[in-house]
Amino acid sequence: MASEARRTAKRQQMPKRAAEERIRDFKEVALGYDIEQAFEEAKRCLQCKSPRCVEGCPVGVDIPHFINKIVERDFNESIRIVKEKNNLPAVSGRVCPQEDQCEAKCVLGRKGEPVAIGALERFVADLELERGAESTISPIATGTRIAIIGSGPAGLTAAGDLAKLGHDVTIFEALHKPGGVLTYGIPEFRLPKAIVEAEIEYVKKLGVRIETNIVVGKTLTIDEIFSMGYRAVFIATGAGSPRFMQIPGENLNDIYSANEFLTRTNLMKAYMFPKYETPIRVGKTVAVIGAGNVAMDAARTALRLGAEDVCVIYRRSEAEMPARIEEVRNAKEEGVRFQILTLPVRYIPTPTGRVGSVECIKMMLGDLDETGRRVPTPVKGSNFQIKVDTVIVAIGQRPNPILANSIPGLEVRKDGTVVTVDSSGKTTKDLVWAGGDIVTGEATVIGAMGAGKKAAASIHRFVSSS
């Protein structure tokens, strides 16, 4: 294709299930490209000599190269190139905010639409998973034991990279299933658990052992890990402790943290209650507090669990919403309402002690704050009430303090995040690295994967030189 034709060719739209159909079940919403769509989209890539998209990728995937292999219809080679850098491509192809990363840097995006890099990554990853991903790498075993704490995106990435280098890697996971937020948090309809399981299988095929039901800091200490012969430890326990607003009535029945709501649904499969025995309660009217990706996941889950009216309550305006535009759009298509510039101030119970309504106050936006967003301030006397049956508080998570507090010499900030001394994730404690949400606070899957990658490289350098 001539360069001009590439510039004018339209970006392939990924097919999605119709909103009215998809809100009746938990099956995946976005269906992925077929081969011809992938081929057409791949042809749009300009194959830049010094590609800026790669700079935008936290794990440094050689984007033009893998896309070029799609054009050549060499899909095996394409996924091999992706996996040189990314151990979880079917996951990141689905949940990465590409619009802020690789695709934001795509030259085509200056005048038109960028190449759909995420959709192409998902395409080659899914194609391989259909056949069953095999490890093509057979490194020489170093015999060096490395422990990873947490099996979310940071832990799995670091584990995969270290195993590829021949190290003997064990992941310790607190829950009964591995995957961290990919398993308990992100819903089936956005990230099917079969995909997560398949990618975890791939990491296991690289030689990684995963021990579930181990809460490091409680059931196993870091000193015991070292005494078991591990030479280095990577802490990747994420940000799993839910925040509440600390307003009156927040502990009433039928008020959930988003973490609890999503864990009951995704990990414990409450949407198949009572065959799966963990219950969940969703009334007719549901309010979701907050407007990040987790809030969108919770709102859309509530719809699928039978809610008739789901309303996202957010104190700023749509422009400031932290959720991906794509996720807000999906939620709107499915009928989620948005009550912006609104802040809950208290919850009012029914006579039986369940939440009955939420009292809110109107907000207005003032000057910019340090995050570049306009500061919301309450409008005096604008209080009003919204009748609700269920409330999901999705205002963010902080790191779970169990592990960090159990390690003497590990410097931890007030908010529970672990202090690192350099960009590789080295902590103030010898032989201990940390990365992902436990260091940055709540952030993205791909950011955590990037941190896992850097830590793995640093741990490898360390154990190889000592």
């Binding site: 308990y184 509440f244 029945n253 943290s257 973490n259 864990t263 414990m268 779970n400």
Partner: protein
């Protein structure tokens, strides 16, 4: 996977199972801590307190009452069957030291929780006054075990079939009125019982520790299902507790939260009794 190496029915709907658990982790369990178990792919994660541990053998003894669908299915398992997941110890241990004279009060299944604490407190040199109670004599558990770690031992039943007729709270008041100088009261049992114990000891100004039993999911501080109000602050019982200063606990809130899923539990159990495993 964890094998059930022994099983015994202690009372109608109350069972004791001994489950395999790695010795290294058995060794870590302290009184006041609990484990989360999941019997299989379909089961809820439920918190249970080891009533006894055997480090040499590598096992935990768990006592549970059939209440919901998961515990009913657990009650149907036999020796040799496998439990999918056991994780622990979780929670903050109860402080064990020499306090002086301690009243240890167990109501119903709460006696299973209180027994390891009573034992440890006795070993720490305390004078242990135990009061255990149940609705009826056949529902009393761990009588001999409790007696063996107590300096004074009382039983109450609501119907008077065994021991004193009445509630553990009345017995405790009698003990106090008889002039027993208590330095501490430790209680576990139904929330309503812990509430009345707390009201009683507040009147007498005796420090009291209760072990709360809210609904949990992960048991590691991840979800907030088990949030309780203590001293006006929200606490997660799974990591901050489950033991708290009784006089600071908002029991009405706890009682309300315990009822959150009563409709769902009833439905799930009914379907199980009807023999429809799919529940559809």
């Amino acid at each position: 996977m964890h094998r059930i190496v022994a099983k015994k029915q202690l009372a109608p709907n109350i069972h004791m199972i001994e489950v395999e658990f790695p010795p290294r982790m058995v060794a870590k369990i302290r009184p006041g801590q609990f484990v989360m178990i999941r019997i299989d792919e379909y089961g809820e994660r439920i918190p249970l307190t080891p009533a006894a541990i055997d480090e040499d053998k590598g096992s935990l003894t768990l006592i549970f009452q059939e209440v919901g669908r998961t515990t009913r299915r657990l009650g149907r398992l036999r020796e040799g069957d496998l439990i999918s997941d056991v994780v622990g110890p979780l929670g903050t241990p109860t402080e064990i030291k020499r306090f002086g004279t301690i009243a240890v009060v167990g109501g119903g299944i709460g006696t299973a929780f209180i027994y390891p604490e009573a034992k440890a407190l006795k070993e720490a040199g305390n004078c242990v006054v135990s009061i255990i109670g149940a609705r009826s004599g056949e529902l009393l558990i761990l009588k001999e075990e409790m007696k063996s770690v107590s300096d004074k031992f009382f039983i109450t039943t609501d119907d008077g079939t065994v021991g004193r007729k009445g509630f553990v709270t009345q017995m405790l008041e009698e003990v106090i009125e008889m002039g027993e100088k208590l330095d501490l009261v430790i209680a576990a049992g139904p929330a309503i019982m812990m509430k009345s114990i707390s009201d009683l000891t507040r009147r007498y100004g005796i420090k009291t520790i209760v072990s709360l039993n809210p609904i949990m999911v992960d048991g590691t501080g991840m979800c907030g299902s088990c949030r309780v109000i203590v001293g006006g602050e929200t606490k997660f019982a799974c990591v901050d507790g489950p033991s708290f200063d009784a006089h600071l606990v908002d029991f009405d809130h706890l009682l309300s939260r315990l009822k959150m899923y009563s409709e769902e539990e009833k439905l799930a159990s009914q379907i199980l009794e009807m023999g429809n495993q799919d529940g559809l």
